[in-house]
Symmetry: C2
C-alpha cells in the first residue's frame, strides 16, 4: 500500500461541501487545455467564453471536442453553436489570462464578452464566427456531433477544424505547433493559470528501445 | 483580418503529409492532461499506458472521461476496462516522464508495461486495478459509459471516481489539488512534455467586477 497517502473514498466524497468537491474534482486530473470559444447567435450578437475541457479527437478529419456542463454559464456558447453551427477556438496568452478568466462571469445574453472583457473580434472570409485578435492561434470549426451524457446531462460538442490562422513560425518542421513559443498558458481546476517550461520532445516509443529525447 | 497570420484551410489540410497532419492537429489545441492508466485483464495481467486526452466531466457524481483512438495502441486499456470495469488514473511526475512516454510503445499484450518500463504496481482494498507507486496522485475509477463517435470511430470512456489516494498536503483548504506541488507535468501534441509555473489563482468572476487574484 501507498502508506504516505490519504485514501479518500465515496463516503468522503459524499461528506464534502459542494464547492470544495467541485474544486477538488475539477483539479484532480491535472493541467488542461484552456481556450476562448467565440460564437454568434442567429441575430449576429457575439459571445466569448473560456473553456478548459477542450480535447483532441482526431486528425483525419481534424476533430476537436469540448464539454458543456449542464449548469454552466457556457450555455450561451452551446445555444449559439446550435443556431449557427460554427465557432472559433482561440488560444489564451499569458498577457491576457486575467481578461480571459473574466469571460466566465455570468453576463446576460445581450452583453458581449468581447466588449465587456476587452477583446477585439475579427472575421475570416469563410467562417461566420468571431475570432479573437489578441490570440495568435485561431481555429475555425463547424459543429459535427452533439452528445448528451445520460450520466449527468453534460454535453460533448465535436467540431471539425475548417480553418487555422497562426504565424508560420509557430509551426515546426514536423507539424508541431509550439504553444510555448505562442505564449499559450495551461490551467488547473477552475481558476489556476500556469505558464510552461519544456522538458523535452521525445522520439516515437518502440518496445525494444529506450525512449530518446528529440532535442 | 489577422495580417500577421498564415491561413490554412481544408485544402491545405488535405495536402499535408499524414504524419505532419497528425502532429499538427494533436498539438493545435494546446496543453493537455497527461496521465498513466492502469488496468488488469480478466486473467490478472497488468497493463499501463499513457493518455493525454483525459478531461473533467463532473463533480457530482465525480466523473472523468478519456479518449481511445481507433488505431491506437491503447486498445489493450479499452479491452481490459471492458473485461474488468475498473481502472486507475495516475499522475506523471517530472522525474519519470521519459519512462511514462515509453509505455506508448506497441508492447504485445502478454508484456506488462509496469515491468517493461520500470513501474511498481500496488493495489488498494477496494479497486481491483493496479495503481502506480511512483505517482503521488492515484485515482481509482469504475467504468460508467462508453460512447463511440460515428464520425471517426473514436471511443469516449467515462468513469466514476471511487477512490483517490494522495498526500494530504497536496490538497489546499478549498479543495484545490496542487499539481505543481505534486510535480505533475503537462504535455502538448504526441511527444512534448512540460513543467509549469503558476501565474495565479483567480477569484470567481462576476460581471460587475474586474477579476481579482486569489493569491
Amino acid at each position: 500500500m501507498h502508506l504516505k497517502s490519504k485514501i479518500l473514498t465515496t463516503t468522503d466524497f459524499e461528506q464534502m461541501d459542494n464547492l470544495f468537491k467541485k474544486t477538488f474534482f475539477n483539479s484532480l486530473s491535472g493541467f488542461k487545455s484552456v481556450n476562448l470559444i467565440g460564437t454568434l447567435d442567429k441575430f449576429g450578437n457575439t459571445n466569448l467564453s473560456i473553456f478548459s475541457s477542450i480535447f483532441h479527437v482526431g486528425a483525419n478529419p481534424p476533430l476537436i471536442g469540448f464539454i458543456v456542463r449542464p449548469d454552466s454559464v457556457d450555455r450561451h456558447t452551446l445555444q449559439n453553436i446550435l443556431e449557427t453551427e460554427v465557432y472559433t477556438i482561440n488560444n489564451i496568452k499569458q498577457d491576457f489570462y486575467i481578461k480571459a478568466h473574466q469571460t466566465s462571469a455570468r453576463y446576460p445574453k445581450e452583453f458581449s464578452e468581447f466588449k465587456e472583457c476587452g477583446f477585439t473580434e475579427f472575421y475570416s472570409n469563410s467562417i461566420k464566427a468571431p475570432y479573437v485578435l489578441e490570440s495568435n492561434i485561431n481555429i475555425g470549426l463547424q459543429k459535427k456531433e452533439i452528445i448528451k451524457l445520460e450520466l449527468n446531462g453534460t454535453i460533448i460538442v465535436i467540431g471539425e477544424v475548417k480553418e487555422v490562422l497562426l504565424p508560420e513560425d509557430l509551426v515546426e518542421g514536423d507539424g508541431f505547433v509550439n504553444h510555448e513559443k505562442a505564449e499559450s498558458i495551461t490551467c488547473c481546476g477552475l481558476d489556476s493559470y500556469h505558464t510552461t517550461n519544456i522538458l523535452s520532445r521525445l522520439a516515437y516509443a518502440k518496445p525494444n528501445k529506450l525512449t530518446q529525447k528529440l532535442k
